[in-house]
């Protein structure tokens, strides 16, 4: 019996999304049961990593098959979900999905900063956005998308914030590493361009000669 198909059958019937570890425990339980079937025994000591690999293979299989549903991993829990294209019909089936209203633009911006920079203090978020975020933070905290994760070791020991598991579920992400462009945004260090582009390439100022010229003319005008 192939491992991935055993896992498929489990996830097909599971009442809730399952983690690789929970799946492993089920395999062990099946192998250890008093009346365990002989074919269940080989999977007694299967490793988490093997399970994850099998699940990833299974997800790929489903993707290749291009069915109306796929195997998704959200917040490290695996489950079968329908493809978004079929939303219109599923909405008719289950009624409007019980989902809170969409986030506002400031809400999404603030959430993005927290997601990529966590743990982050409120002051740091405000510095990036250039505006106060009190109201928006309150909304995000109330909706359970972010939470206080500790305190920064700076003066005043302000709270630091991070995203919750609900955040991953809300956006359908497997983990924080799956955030779009995570490697780029996690720790942005905008390097100063070599040779001070801002000053030399006509960026902000007229060239120095012009400035000098204007300066020479000035005394004349004032006389």
């Amino acid at each position: 019996m192939e491992l991935k198909f055993i896992l498929e059958s489990l996830l097909f019937s599971a009442q809730k999304p399952l983690t690789a570890r929970e799946l492993r425990d089920l395999l062990t339980a099946a192998a250890e049961a008093e009346d365990a079937a002989p074919e269940a025994k080989p999977f007694k000591k299967v490793k988490d990593a093997d399970i994850t690999a099998a699940l990833e293979q299974l997800a790929k299989d489903h993707e290749t098959a291009a069915r109306s549903y796929r195997l998704a991993c959200v917040a490290e829990c695996w489950q079968f979900v329908t493809q978004p294209e079929f939303g219109p019909w599923l909405k008719a089936l289950v009624g409007a999905k019980l989902r809170p209203s969409r986030l506002s633009a400031p809400g999404l911006e603030t959430l993005a900063i927290i997601a990529y920079r966590q743990p982050v203090t409120r002051a740091e978020v405000e510095q990036i956005r250039g505006v106060a975020v009190d109201g928006v933070m309150q909304t995000l905290l109330e909706r359970g998308l972010v939470e206080s994760v500790g305190r920064a070791e700076v003066v005043g020991r302000p709270n630091t914030y991070g995203t919750t598991e609900l955040f991953l579920e809300y956006f359908g992400l497997r983990s924080l590493d799956e955030l779009p462009a995570a490697d780029e945004l996690r720790k942005i260090v905008v390097e100063k361009p070599p040779g001070l582009v801002t000053a030399d390439l006509g960026l902000a100022t007229p060239p120095p000669e012009q400035l000098a010229l204007a300066n020479e003319e000035k005394p004349v005008a004032s006389e």
Partner: protein, 265 residues
Amino acid sequence: MAEYKVKFEVFEGPLDLLLYLIRKEEVDIYEVNLTKLASQFIEYIEMMRVFDLEIAGEFLVMASTLMYIKSRELLPVDQQIVVEGEEEGEDPRWELIRQLVEYKKFKDAAARLQTLEATQENVFPRIPIKPEIEPDTRPKLEVSIFDLLGAVNNILKRIAATRDDGRNIFDDKWTVSEKIEQIIGVLKARENVKFSELFADATSRSEVVCTFLALLELIRLKQLVCRQNDAFDEIEIGRAPVVVAPPVSETAVAATPEAESARHS
């Protein structure tokens, strides 16, 4: 009559307005003419004032930064005052551009999150119906406090043997009330849990003790019951049949000393 004011909400903040102005110029952020941008920004604030819109303080701070940058550039290089402690690296123009670039990246990231949000709205999980299986009606055996103590003793022995040589002293990372929350959390997700599972992640003696005290507390509060399928079976912990739930966390904290003394006896 109360003064009627329109709140200016088109732009999220000064950085947002600056990005908008830069986009209008159709130039790269790195090549923007900050002097010109400063004039446009101030024009905009002027306009907000004319329309009697509330101008947020952040806009004024930005306006003054821009004015500062502009004023510096009006002076020829050799006459610019070198502010003490301000090195070349702290060019205010660069500071501002850096901030703009960073803000722009997060704005783009927010847009991608929005796409994900919209997609996720159309994704539906498969939720099968729970297969109907006869509940296990075998009478379960009551578990006494001595069985529990025996079980926790085994776990403590295991911990002592494997992880803790007694020489290291750790912070008390856990409190009983935290462990209570944790146990309640586990049992929200599942019908019952094996005794050993509760301690599977414990890394220190004090954590085992905390968890055990939390367990005793919950049993005392009639939140949990312990059962065994057969004598010498592993102890199972389940939710108690529903009675009116007392406010758990407060009582638990107050009752900790009591549980503490139970531990010493």
